[in-house]
Structure formats: structure tokens, C-alpha cells
């Protein structure tokens, strides 16, 4: 069973917010003893998803949780926004697809960097992306 050990949330409203958000995620990752490669992957994933919030929804929120399952601990990040939503999630998850002016690596690339990836989106209501990285994952 997945247990939440601690919780922290941050709001994302402007471009500069990506810096404290990355720092906060890194701090928590260091605190649970995550190795440097996994830390870097998680922080990079967070950076991609914060950018998506800013680009497509203007503002949103990030929830940072330390979770555990059995003897394994990890970090779960939830990125939620009340933006336009994604009409075709399968298409958005394809490498190279983008409705914005980007490389289209954000979502599929992020998925490769973490252990668990979940995306829920309703057109006109918003998008919630949840990622989980195990300490030794």
C-alpha cells in the first residue's frame, strides 16, 4: 500500500516559479537519500511539467509528496491546472507531437524519466499529471 509521509504544495503562476519548484523537489529528493541520477531525472521531469502548466494553462499547482510502499520510498509529484485540457492524450504522448512551438518531447520524455506516470485531462476543465520516482527506481 502506498503511504504519504509528507506533503507540500506550491503554486505556479509565472515563469520564474520553475526555479524554486525545481529546488524544492531537489531538496526533498536529497532528504530521502535519492541518488544524483534519479534526482536529476525527477527534477528535469518536474521542469518539463511546470513549463507545460505555464505554456498551456498560465497557472497551476504542484503537490510534492514523499511516499512509501513497503521498504521503498519515493517522491510523487502532482501537477494540476485548470487550463484548456488535452483533446487527444494518446497523440500528446507521442514523441515529436506538439500543439505549441516545442520539440514535443515534454510528455513522452517525462514519462521515460520516471517510474510511474499518469495523466488525466478534460477538455475545458484542465489537466492533472502525476509522476512517481522511487528512491532506487
Amino acid at each position: 500500500m502506498l503511504m504519504t509521509l509528507s506533503k507540500d504544495s506550491m503554486s505556479i503562476t509565472r515563469e520564474q516559479d520553475v526555479v524554486p519548484c525545481r529546488n524544492r523537489v531537489k531538496e526533498v529528493a536529497v532528504k530521502i537519500g535519492m541518488g544524483i541520477v534519479n534526482q536529476t531525472k525527477l527534477v528535469t521531469a518536474a521542469s518539463e511539467l511546470v513549463r507545460n502548466i505555464l505554456r498551456y494553462a498560465d497557472s497551476g499547482e504542484v503537490l510534492i509528496e514523499v511516499v512509501s510502499k513497503g521498504r521503498e520510498s519515493g517522491i510523487r509529484l502532482t501537477f494540476s491546472d485548470k487550463g484548456p485540457g488535452i483533446a487527444d492524450i494518446n497523440l500528446a504522448m507521442q514523441d515529436g507531437y506538439s500543439t505549441g512551438r516545442s520539440l514535443g518531447l515534454g510528455l513522452p520524455g517525462t514519462k521515460r524519466l520516471v517510474n510511474e506516470f499518469d495523466i488525466k485531462s478534460t477538455v475545458g476543465q484542465g489537466t492533472v499529471v502525476t509522476i512517481l520516482k522511487w528512491k532506487n527506481g
Binding site: 515563469e15 520564474q16 520553475v18 526555479v19 525545481r22 529546488n23 531537489k26 544524483i36 541520477v37 534526482q39 536529476t40 531525472k41 527534477v43 528535469t44 521542469s47 518539463e48 513549463r51 514523441d95 516545442s102 520539440l103 518531447l105 515534454g106 513522452p108 520524455g109 517525462t110 521515460r112 524519466l113
Partner: protein
């Protein structure tokens, strides 16, 4: 507003990124560098990212853009000092920094730029001989 300083070293420009980049800052660096290359006629650009703990898809794209843009202005760009964890993450993310020269550290990066620069000079010298 934060700004990343660009130093001039002979025919080359040197940039050391020591603060956390957000998108606007990276875009400004791109513009500043291209303008500097144009203004100074620099033949090479060295970007030291040894203090950068993450490079995401946007920053990766900016590095690629800088390399392509300086190339059409006849200057080579070399990115040096990438941390191993950053390299692993970039490739898994799907960015291979195609077309960007890289070197392990500043010293090797400078040597690479020097080599390219002197090769260009030699070729220019050959051309001059041919026309005689």
C-alpha cells in the same frame, strides 16, 4: 532582471552559466550571444554548463539553436562541462544535442575551438596561394 555575462577572449566568446536558468533567461542568452558574435566577429563560442544541474528539453533546444545560429554566422559553438547525470537525463528525455560540439571541460573545449579556428586559417591561406 538576471543576465548571463558573455566574456570575450581573443577570437572567442566565453559563457559560464552559474545560475538556474528559466526560459526567458535562456532565450535572452541566445539573443545576446548571436548579437555578440555578429558585433565582435567571434569565430567560436564556448558555453560552460558545469554548474548547471539540469538541462530540460527547452534548454536543450536553446543550446542547439545557439549552435546552429552561430554556425550561419561563421562561428562554432562548443558546450563543455556537462555533468554525467545531466547527460544521462538528456538522452533518456530524447535529446541528443545533434549538431552541438561538446567537450569534457573548458580546457578541451578551448583546444577544440583553437583547432577549428587554425584549420579555417590554413584553408584561407591555401585559397590565397591558389589565386596567386
Amino acid at each position: 532582471m538576471d543576465k548571463i555575462p558573455i566574456l570575450r577572449m581573443g577570437p572567442f566568446l566565453l559563457v559560464t552559466i552559474q545560475i538556474d536558468l528559466y526560459d526567458r533567461l535562456a532565450l535572452n542568452l541566445e539573443t545576446d550571444l548571436i548579437n555578440m558574435v555578429h558585433k565582435t566577429g567571434a569565430r567560436g563560442v564556448l558555453i560552460d554548463i558545469s554548474a548547471v544541474s539540469i538541462v530540460d528539453s527547452f534548454m536543450g533546444r536553446i543550446l542547439g539553436n545557439i549552435a546552429s545560429m552561430t554556425r550561419v554566422l561563421d562561428a562554432e559553438t562548443v558546450v563543455v562541462g556537462m555533468q554525467p547525470a545531466v547527460a544521462i537525463t538528456l538522452i533518456e528525455l530524447g535529446l541528443s544535442l545533434h549538431g552541438v560540439h561538446t567537450a569534457l571541460d573548458v580546457e578541451r573545449g578551448m583546444a577544440l575551438l583553437q583547432t577549428k579556428h587554425s584549420l579555417d586559417d590554413e584553408m584561407a591561406g591555401d585559397d590565397a596561394d591558389d589565386t596567386e
